[in-house]
Symmetry: C2
Subunit: 326 residues, 2 copies
Amino acid sequence: MRILILGAAGMVGRKLTDRLVEEGQLNRQAITRMILHDVVEPVAPPAPFEVTALASDFSQPGEAERLVASRPDVIFHLAAIVSGEAEADLEKGYRINLDGTRFLFDAVRRVGDGYRPRLVFTSSIAVFGAPFPEAIGDEFFLTPLTSYGTQKAIGELLLADYTRRGFFDGVGIRLPTICVRPGKPNKAASGFFSSIIREPLNGQEAVLPVPEDVCHAHASPRSAVGFLVHAATIDTDEIGPRRNLTMPSVSVTVAEQIDALRRIAGDKVASRIRREPDPDIMRMVAGWPRRFDASRAESLGFRAEKSFDEIVRLHIEDELGGRIAG
Amino acid sequence: MRILILGAAGMVGRKLTDRLVEEGQLNRQAITRMILHDVVEPVAPPAPFEVTALASDFSQPGEAERLVASRPDVIFHLAAIVSGEAEADLEKGYRINLDGTRFLFDAVRRVGDGYRPRLVFTSSIAVFGAPFPEAIGDEFFLTPLTSYGTQKAIGELLLADYTRRGFFDGVGIRLPTICVRPGKPNKAASGFFSSIIREPLNGQEAVLPVPEDVCHAHASPRSAVGFLVHAATIDTDEIGPRRNLTMPSVSVTVAEQIDALRRIAGDKVASRIRREPDPDIMRMVAGWPRRFDASRAESLGFRAEKSFDEIVRLHIEDELGGRIAG
């Protein structure tokens, strides 16, 4: 079992790598080789099999061919320019998120000779744009309102067509907001959903830029890795031709997030959130999906948390070694 | 008012050209120049303004830039590899239908300097794939089951994103099957819907490759041109950010098509249809949409025929000078 991870240096890519190394197998087949790729060289962890870490721009001619030359059995395509940057730099976003994805798909196709890997593509709930129904179901149409969402929607279409034609066995998974993101605050407009939990637990103040009645859909980093592994091992005959799936998530208001934090870590921790409304972020958040009915993914065995309390507890367990700054 | 038509040598392109030359204006502005482009040189009709006919492959570097250099006010993008050929030749289909479209959009974007033309893009009901609801509404999701449909769906997404970003003022129109197509059959698998009307009216035998209970959505060539002109002149503020519209159509079974032919042209004409089931075409047709609820387009003033009888009569009037081969 040979595995290629594109975007391996990102948060989800690193956690996926760690899980695969720890388990040593995927779909009950021993992993014999892993190629980790990103635009900056990923850290290759110690492993009982060969791990190769590569850095390059996979939207450059020949790069995708090089990456698939060893005919990996499973390809995880997590590489992307994130939403804010894809909006700020149109050409870069289209070059990486559209061209890069297409070069990868074409490189797989051109191997030919019966090569047909499982290809897991991370799409995003950014493929949906307001106005929405109360809960976005599996048949809601794609109406992205960002270039990033447009590029992900195009990736989904290409994935379905190339799968239909038999070039690979693709599964596209639309990730909700991953919360609680470990590490430093990032510049994403959605970053506050994580920082209002992460910073108070670290004894630091967090800024909340939106009203507490804002509702949003979350899944933990552990669930994100679970989605990827499940997508890589599921019997795709069960999925059929509609290969892109909205992943399960927990929808809660910001008030409910803070309630969960207070229940688990106490009033003192929860008091470290400072309200500082930001009209720009409020306007962006107003156009984001709030709730999903992910029936298809659930019936196919994809699982997320059932409550935000669970998400907070997983963060404390996975990132803080069970300790909270009191 | 300068107008550029890409795909001008095709059936709809020629009819659009003829109508614009005849009317001499678009949106109450006198036409001063028309550029007709296709992969084979379009015929430039006599006109009271400059008409330039050009032949080139617009998916080649620099071609799209050349075409938009004169800053046309309205661009009709009708150029495409049709469904059968896009399925048979994957690379050609993606090169023309995806890359060509994107090169055109990027060429318009790069003109900059306040240039923001109206851009009318012909999409197709092939963006939809089975299974369907009884009638496909304006919010049904895109699930193409052909590479052609995938390429058109990608064009729609690009059109919406580039319009949102202000590079042009785009309107995408999803054409139903245009019937009755005049002239010789093209490579589209849907060709028989026209030939079972056209050939009998010409005194020739037509082959029907599917059962008579197959239901399909049609609009006349005259309506197709009407859709294009309306899309070029409509107040796009009324459309909002969801820029791709399913056009109105008449849904009838093949049996109802033949009944209409019989009512209008008699038993002898209708008897010129030979049943010769083709499993390949039957399988493709099984995945095609049957009926649409085109409420948005209708509320925006797009109009098609109300019955298939009307479609047959228009063909006899527009193409046969009112005469039927008895």
